[in-house]
């Protein structure tokens, strides 16, 4: 049966109520609900039965009184082993080596892997935040169009018109 969360108490809360591990406010709310809801009362009774069954099993405590195995066997084994150093002492060098290698690899990838570049026929300029709202020919480029990336490409035919005013825009604007 699917439980309607808006009408009944969630089983987790019922379980917490049974253990007395919920706040007094929540507890009182649950008690008020239980007084008028048979389904939740039945669920709580089921949980109580489980608790009673486990309690009965605990009562027998069959294993508690059984004697512990002899310490001597463990002692002999402990004496035969050298005590290991703490984790960071044992593996510190290896961990530092692994971290250094990873760092080196990251630098190598950053510097030597080819990056995405604009087409060869385009000049590349760096974006500067002050160069906003500028005309290229008769077109006005808004800041959001300029702010598409920190590297922008400019078609050679526009280059003369643009420089030295430094108008930058993304190459998508040309399409």
């Amino acid at each position: 049966m699917k439980l309607n969360r808006s009408l009944h108490i969630w089983p987790t809360n019922l379980s917490g109520y049974l253990d007395g591990e919920i706040s007094p406010v929540k507890s009182r709310r649950i008690e008020r609900h239980l007084a008028k809801c048979q389904a939740c009362t039945a669920t709580l009774d089921g949980l109580r039965r489980v608790q009673v069954a486990l309690y009965a099993m605990k009562a027998s405590r069959t294993s508690w009184n059984a004697p512990l195995p002899s310490w001597a066997a463990i002692e002999v084994e402990l004496h035969s082993r050298p005590m290991p150093a703490p984790f960071f002492v044992r593996y510190g060098l290896q961990m530092a080596g692994a971290a250094g290698s990873a760092l080196l690899l990251a630098f190598a990838l950053y510097y030597y892997l080819p990056r995405s570049a604009p087409p060869a026929d385009m000049a590349v300029a760096r974006f500067e935040p002050s160069d906003l709202y500028q005309y290229v020919g008769d077109r006005l480029f808004a800041p959001e169009k300029v702010l598409l990336g920190d590297t922008v490409a400019i078609r050679p035919e526009l280059e003369e018109a643009v420089f030295p005013e430094k108008v930058y825009f993304h190459d998508r604007n040309f399409s």
Binding site: P11, T12, L14, S15, G16, D19, E21, G46, L47, R49, V50, Q51, A53, L54, Y55, A56, M57, K58, A59, S60, R61, T62, S63, W64, N65, A66, L68, P69, W71, A73, I74, E75, E77, L78, H79, R81, M83, P84, A85, P86, F87
Partner: protein
């Protein structure tokens, strides 16, 4: 029912420090202090007292290896039982790999004999207990650990959370699901 003595009780920190210095006598004191509670937990988790005794042996070898990694800001009992629970889980995982279904409960020969009690009553009680134990062994490990710590070892939610390194919400939901699971299994047994 008496509460399991010394379950989740903090041991004297000087004993822990002695263990960290590698004094075997310190480990012996640890064994005498935590041996019975941890074996008790092992019996309920593994369902076998012999295996729980083996667990105790393995646990102290593991503690010997790891004690220098223990930092005193966390409760020692939580750290200790966490290692015990993880070892139990390893054993259960290995058991699952070995065979799909395996259950041995040697409780009968260890059960205290009560000569005054009616033998028929005793038999029916034992049968009921066996049924509950068999059902408990079928509850998934993650819920069973929570149930045993709460219902058998009387741990609080905070203590369970500290042992299993999970939040209180997780403890609450695992207990609820575990109880629900066990309830269904017990109902199935009755039918």
């Amino acid at each position: 029912v008496e509460k399991s003595p010394r379950f989740f009780q903090e041991i004297d920190p000087t004993i822990v420090r002695r263990c960290q210095r590698g004094e075997i006598e310190g480990f012996k004191e640890l064994y005498l202090f935590y041996g019975k509670p941890v074996r008790h937990l092992g019996v309920y988790l593994l369902g076998d007292i012999e295996e729980a005794n083996d667990l105790l042996h393995d646990l102290f070898l593991k503690i010997y290896e790891k004690i220098k990694d223990y930092r005193s800001e966390a409760p020692f009992a939580a750290w200790f039982y966490r290692i015990a629970v993880n070892l139990c889980r390893d054993r259960l995982r290995a058991r699952k790999r070995r065979t799909k279904y395996f259950y041995i409960w040697p409780g009968k020969d260890l059960a205290p004999s009560n000569s005054d009690a009616d033998p028929s009553d005793d038999a029916s009680t034992n049968e009921q207990e066996e049924a509950v134990r068999a059902a408990l062994m079928q509850v998934p490990d993650r819920y069973r650990v929570c149930l045993i710590l709460r219902e058998i070892e009387d741990c609080s939610y905070e203590e369970i959370g500290a042992i299993l390194q999970v939040s209180l919400g997780t403890v609450r939901s695992r207990l609820s699901r575990g109880r629900d699971y066990l309830k269904k299994l017990l109902l199935e047994q009755r039918e």
